[in-house]
Symmetry: C2
């Protein structure tokens, strides 16, 4: 066997064990909402003594807080209630999109504490200008967070484009190429808050962040830990979550479903190829097929929905056509990935009622496992429209939860 099995992980020692169990206890409290030391102990398998010691450290660090006594049920001494702290470390999510910039601060428990949105058309605007605007918004959000005793442990920037290693390789809808987002954003933010320690900045594709928002915060998707997520907007974005983990691919470009092929000889796409899905089920194509101005944007989609609701046959057949093509491509993706469900977001969410039958038909016909024939509840509407900022904030929160000690010690130094 050769050496490309896996690069060897780091060694383990006492400190590793401690870090691991610290995270385990914190996440147990997190997931339970409210818990006691004894409850956590039986849940994670550690002794009460060990949990006590770990909780003590988490209290000291300020990651959990003690409440009253559990006056609950039956016999025995009541336990002390533990909750994830609602102040202290938090996640800062930033979403830069075509016609708005949004930032969002999420606390360790996962609740939105600050949310700011600024509507601006970012198309063709200098990247540095857009990022400076985003940084201004972020700085305001950090200020509001501070008033609530929250201190972001890092910022995660999501935007519609191919991003790898902190750089946007290309973002056609924004008109960006080779932009070092992380660096520029960090710099802009630092310039606005010169006295402060620089905030670690990471970045990702917007569809990925939205999919994570669906995973972590979506309603009605409990237990679905493997799904394909689609956003229909100007472009069609996609992301893949497998067993609770986002699949980023070897370079971070995974999930680009918008340019999968419907018909190799189809209409030319702005990507240079022919017959891409976007040309059939993208927002513009959808509107045009229904006889609505292709550039009408959100109003156009609302109009389409209105017409569909009225039973307008052009609208219905436009949606049906898009759905059929969507189904063809999505069935291919399902065959490749074998997810539990497919979530449709973006404009597809509003059109779900008319879109779903066509998509479902193709899926039932083409998914070889047959799972999609047997069970009709696998195609779902995403529960919230494009919450990429929140998902991005969640990425930071999850990092903290995964290694609380690292963050606590960073804040000391």
């Amino acid at each position: 066997m050769k050496n490309n099995l896996t690069p060897l992980e780091p060694k383990a020692d006492k400190a590793t064990v401690r870090r691991h169990n610290l995270s385990l206890v914190l996440r147990a409290v997190h997931d339970a909402g409210e818990a006691t030391r004894a409850g956590v102990a039986t849940h994670v398998g550690l002794t009460r003594a060990a949990v006590s010691s770990l909780v003590e450290q988490l209290l000291e660090y300020g990651f959990v807080s003690e409440g009253g006594k559990t006056s609950s049920g039956q016999a025995g001494r009541p336990g002390t209630v533990l909750r994830v702290a609602r102040s202290g470390p938090a996640g800062l999510g930033v979403e830069i999109n075509i016609d708005y910039v949004a930032v969002c601060v999420v606390d360790l428990a996962g609740t939105d504490r600050v949310r700011l949105v600024e509507h601006v058309d970012n198309r063709g605007v200098q990247p540095s200008e857009v990022l400076t605007r985003a940084a201004r918004l972020a700085a305001r959000a950090i200020g509001s967070a501070a008033e609530q005793d929250l201190a972001p442990a890092g910022a995660h920037v999501a935007l519609p484009g191919l991003v790898t290693g902190g750089t946007v390789r290309q973002a056609p809808n924004l008109g960006w190429r080779r932009v070092a987002v992380e660096g520029l954003f960090a710099q802009a933010l630092l310039a606005l808050r010169p006295a402060h320690r620089p905030l670690p900045v990471s970045s990702d594709n917007e569809a990925n962040a939205a999919a994570l928002a669906e995973l972590w915060f979506g309603a009605g998707t409990e237990g679905v830990r493997s799904f394909l997520y689609l956003t229909g907007e100007i472009g069609i974005g996609g992301a893949l979550v497998l067993k609770g983990e986002l699949l980023r691919g070897a370079h971070g470009f995974a999930g680009e479903i918008g340019h999968m092929v419907v018909d190799p000889e189809g209409p030319r796409c702005r990507c240079g190829a022919r017959g891409c899905l976007e040309q059939y089920a993208g927002q513009s194509a959808l509107l045009a097929a229904a006889g609505i101005d292709a550039d009408a944007g959100v109003q156009g989609v609302a109009e389409l929905e209105r017409r569909a609701r009225k039973g307008d046959s052009a609208a219905l057949s436009a949606i049906e056509g898009a759905g059929r093509r969507l189904g063809v491509v999505v069935s291919g993706a399902v065959n490749l990935f074998d997810p539990d469900a497919v979530m449709l977001g973006g404009v597809y969410r509003e059109l779900m009622d008319w879109l779903a039958p066509a998509v479902d038909r193709e899926l039932a016909l083409r998914v070889v496992s047959g799972l999609w024939r047997e069970d009709g509840k696998r195609l779902r509407a995403s529960s919230s429209r494009g919450d990429a900022a929140r998902g991005a904030a969640g990425v930071i929160v999850r990092e903290v939860l995964a290694d609380p000690a690292a963050y606590a010690e960073r804040d000391r130094g």
Copy 2:
């Protein structure tokens, strides 16, 4: 944040640390081929004392063996050479395919030690009969292995079909539906070796096993740890390896690329849908397009290669057509997965020279990341034709390497 983040991993304690480091040291020796305690220590970051203790345990268990002294180069006391033991635990791989059954025993170091193949047409034969035949072959292999002081720690069965939870859901090429492979095979093997402890049996798709063989044993693929693997045979199988890990999907059905759509209105496929890739680039379609008997099998492919080599225009255009369609579908898969490379196996391997240009053209045109335009060495021929049995054996070996203590203690009890 909700509870579907990740189920909590097990707690960590001293024993966990020990197991982890034991595996780490064993794998370090494995990867190096030859190593000394001191070398391993610097490589994995443990102290020499710790490594000494771990190696002692590995020696006791029989996972590594000591050689002579390292009479190598410069100054200082020479170290004692450590190697992965060439006797003791091993992996048993079983491949059940359409026209043959193969078994293979691989030792911890990754070398083939026993290999048996039986050519039989398994189409339409009772599953229990096929599995009994495979078990007979396996029993013989275990016997040969025993003569070399090798004792398989488990068996991994690979076959062309959708397999989940130890059961084949469907295997169209074999004509199987709902067959409990693991149980039947284990039972058949036990019946042949009544005095022995039952061997743990696991199972998987054949393309997955072949992809793992490519990852672990493939020549010329060093460093490529993320790739899409394709086998062109009667059907077209696929598998996805991402960062050295096989992607099995939520139910184990991932990688089914053969029924991705080339043309939604194309010819009807045996799966019931229309225009599947298999209808354009499957072995039968390929031969038919070149004017060769579609059922001619391996001979047919050889004939096709001969004609292509001679410059026969019908053959060349048949291959080109298949390549174009393959390129269309593979570009979609690449957009979804973002692998580092695509490996073509099965019949595509022999036809690579004529197939690759067409596939490459589509990839360069359609992969949105642009990576496939910049670098032409991403499409490769698989290095060995269908070595699924070896890959399957590797799965067992890797399990042992990942937790040697577990296997050693199992063998004691």
